[in-house]
């Protein structure tokens, strides 16, 4: 971890402070013309797109601060930035001693509310200090060796690795396509079910009652013949029903 951190930190410092002030084209194209991030593109693709954008004449870079047309001149920060930065820098350089044997593990005792903290033997600690310090130097050294005399605008890693890292091991893509998208799309299923099945059933019951009521209303014609006919029909049905029930009981 110390090795890798030292490596990328040194690389960044070399590029930021010791290289001529040029802007890598793929860094510029953080946003393409449509205002979409192009971080998932390899260098070759970005360069191609940049060429196309340039062909269209006025290439809008969205909110990109480093617009070619209006380059911002670098300048030192004002005191409102310098003072906090100096404070943080001093603290960052000195705070480490508070947790080391040099301060008799002040920080550890502070965290444990004055109780004696469990610390490994001093020899183990010194080995740890030395190994991690060495690793830092190795990482920084590799970084210097790789980038000091090199055109940093050229992509070093193979395309597949660049893409893998730029897309953050595709973890975000997995969550978007696999979890968020499915979860999001479920809403349409739920809404359809609610509208058509649940509310549809309610409306069906309501509608059915209306239809039944309407039918029964029409049956009340007021014509005596119709009522007489119904009475006879009902009587026949009843006689038949009794007959069947009686036959069933007798058997």
């Amino acid at each position: 971890m110390a090795l890798l951190t030292a490596f990328y930190t040194t690389r960044m410092m070399i590029i930021a402070f010791y290289k001529p002030r040029t802007v890598a084209p793929w860094a510029l194209a953080a946003w393409n013309q449509q205002g979409e991030p192009t971080l998932n593109m390899t260098q070759a693709e970005v360069l191609e797109q940049r060429a196309q954008d340039a062909g269209h004449g006025h290439g809008g870079h969205g909110e990109s601060e480093t617009d070619d047309a209006h380059p911002h001149k670098p300048h030192e920060s004002g005191p409102e930035m310098i003072i906090p930065l100096v404070l943080l820098g001093v603290l960052a350089m000195t705070m480490g001693f508070l947790g080391s044997p040099l301060s008799n593990f002040w920080f550890q005792r502070f965290v444990y509310f004055g109780a004696t903290p469990e610390v490994p033997p001093l020899e183990t600690l010194w080995v740890g200090f030395i190994v991690s310090a060495l690793l830092v130097f190795v990482g920084a050294g590799v970084s210097v060796a790789l980038y000091w005399n090199r055109d940093h605008t050229k992509q070093l890693a193979p395309d597949w690795l660049t893409r893998l890292l730029q897309r953050r091991y595709f973890i975000d893509d997995f969550f978007y396509a696999g979890v968020a998208k499915i979860g999001y799309d479920l809403q349409f299923l739920f809404a359809w079910f609610d509208r058509v099945v649940v509310d549809g059933f309610v409306d069906f019951v309501g509608g059915a009652v209306t239809v039944i009521g309407d039918t029964l209303r029409r049956a009340q014609t007021g014509a005596v013949g119709w009522y007489a006919g119904l009475t006879v029909a009902g009587a026949i049905v009843m006689v038949l029903a009794f007959a069947i029930a009686f036959a069933g009981g007798a058997r």
Partner: protein
């Protein structure tokens, strides 16, 4: 005192109905303000320590049938009575532009009815008030609603009537069944029935009676799958009607389950705990998803109520002090926050002449005050810590998870919080954020404030009157989010009292009896004023 609370709006309604609109709206404000003050005084004079019934008034009404005018309030009903009066006031203020006196009279009648529902301790009286609430709301939706108002109003009334008819059957069956079993004279009094039910070991058909009561309450709450009246009614109702519907009418359902289903028939509550927990969980997730899919902003808020009331049901069926506490807190919080959401959506659609989300953008830039309050209300609906909704949802879910029988439903319901966050933030992004419509695009520093001068001519921000209507809800939803002690002692005392009486019932099934009897590990929940929210956090972590 309670009678006064019911009579003030009734008298106000009579005077309002016999005057003209200009006088009627002022009378409505005066009557609801007066009842807010009176109920507020009652709220703060109530002794929270024992959680007992107070302000009792009992007058025989139809002695031969054992029906009496019996009203009383405790910590579970007092917050809702205050909320009812306050939301009536707020609704009238939000709808101050109506030119029909009957509109204001109906609100007052409804206020009287809802107050009666929360105060009644006689089952017939309760049913009577329950029905009184229906009629004004039918007219408010059907006459002053949006385009589809008649369909929505009829659906609302038919749904509610189905529930209340079943409840009436339940009330009659319960009273006659108890009278037959004990040989005592018929009584519809809550206290009498409770005592007698505790004495009877098993009442035949109690399961059916339980579901008859529950039917009315689940429809009102509303719980899946009897919730479909809600999106229609809430969407088509005028702003004030939506505020009352979401703010207090839904709470009648939750309160009914607590007072009658749990209070009278705890054994059945235990038996059907799983069924209810499943319904609640479905309501939470399903409601949130349906809300997400809505294209109509008001309809989205309406469906979010299905989601929020799911937590209430879940908290109640957890059957422990913390869950029930959370359910009541959530109901109060939902009344304030969703009331505010409906108010803001109403004000907004009044200005944009549309409720379609896709047709609105940049409303925050156009109307900063309205936008800010709406933003706040939406975040409150999302359950943002620091607002009342968070405490309600958190406590209700904690209680659910604490009971091993319902824990799994609590965990599934956490999904609902995520989906709620999704649709709320999505709505904020589409409606509130972005450039104000009408602001010219060639302005370079559009987002640095200089565009306000441009847009002011097109969009009227909140008027002082509208701001006055929103202010109580804004203030209370934040105060109750930061200082729950204003509400928790009231709920806690009566929740403990309710569970205490319920524990004495021997009809409780053997299964799961242990957690039912188990007292909340944090005794401070019951002690009332010593309660603070962090301690409940620790309690939840106890094994």
């Amino acid at each position: 005192m309670i009678t006064l609370l019911i009579l003030i709006p009734v008298l106000g309604a009579i005077i309002a109905a016999s005057s003209n609109a200009e006088i009627a709206k002022r009378i409505a404000v005066a009557a609801s303000l007066l009842s807010t003050i009176i109920s507020g005084v009652m709220y703060f004079t109530y002794n929270t320590a024992g959680g007992a019934m107070a302000f009792t008034e009992k007058v025989p009404w139809i002695p031969s049938l054992g029906i009496s005018y019996h009203v009383a309030l405790d910590g579970l009903s007092l917050p809702f009575v205050v909320l009812t009066a306050l939301l009536t006031l707020v609704s009238v203020l939000a709808q101050f532009d109506q030119d029909k006196k009957s509109f204001y009279a109906l609100f007052l009648v409804m206020q009287a009815g809802i107050t009666g529902v929360f105060a009644s301790l006689d089952l017939v009286l309760f049913f009577l008030f329950w029905e009184v609430v229906l009629i004004p709301m039918f007219f408010i939706i059907g006459v002053w609603g949006y385009e589809n108002r008649r369909y929505a109003a009829i659906k609302f009334v038919l749904y509610s009537l189905t529930g209340s008819v079943l409840m009436l059957v339940g009330i009659l069956a319960l009273a006659f069944g108890v009278a037959n079993a004990t040989g005592q004279p018929l009584s519809f009094d809550f206290d009498v029935l409770k005592t007698q039910l505790e004495a009877i070991k098993a009442l035949p058909g109690i399961g059916l009676i339980f579901w008859a009561f529950l039917a009315a309450f689940l429809i009102k709450l509303p719980a899946f799958p009897v919730h479909t009246w809600l999106p229609h009614a809430h969407t088509e109702a005028p702003t004030g009607g939506s505020i009352m519907l979401a703010g207090v009418l839904l709470k009648m359902g939750g309160y009914g389950i607590l007072r009658f289903n749990l209070g009278l028939m705890p054994g059945e509550m235990q038996t059907y705990q799983t069924v209810l927990a499943i319904l609640a969980t479905v309501g939470v997730v399903y409601g949130a998803y349906c809300a997400m899919a809505q294209k109509d902003l008001k309809r989205m808020v309406a469906y979010s109520s299905v989601n929020h009331m799911g937590y209430v049901l879940l908290g109640i069926v957890s059957l422990n002090a913390m869950g029930i506490h959370g359910a009541v807190y959530q109901m109060v919080a939902h009344g304030l926050i969703t009331g505010l959401m409906f108010m803001m959506v109403g004000f907004l659609s009044h200005r944009t002449h549309t409720r379609v989300i896709a047709n609105m953008t940049g409303m925050y830039a156009a109307m900063p005050v309205l936008g800010a309050i709406m933003w706040m209300a939406f975040l409150g609906g999302l359950g943002l810590p620091g607002m009342a909704g968070f405490i309600g949802e958190f406590t209700a879910l904690s209680g659910t998870v604490k009971n091993p029988d319902t824990a799994v439903y609590g965990y599934i319901s956490l999904l609902g919080i995520m989906i709620t966050a999704g649709f709320i933030l999505y709505a904020i992004q589409r409606v509130l954020l972005g450039r104000a419509p009408g602001s010219s695009d060639d302005e370079h520093h559009d987002d640095h404030g200089s565009s306000h001068a441009h847009t002011k001519s097109h969009w009227h921000d909140l008027s002082p009157l509208e701001l006055a209507a929103a202010a109580p809800l804004v203030i209370l939803s934040v105060v109750l989010g930061l200082y729950p002690n204003l509400l928790t002692p009231w709920i806690d005392g009566s929740t403990q009292a309710l569970l205490e009486t319920v524990r004495g019932v021997t009809r409780l099934g053997d299964k799961g009896e242990a957690h039912f009897y188990e007292k909340c590990e944090c005794r401070n929940l019951g002690s009332g004023n010593g309660y603070n929210h962090d301690e409940s956090l620790e309690c939840q972590l106890l094994p």
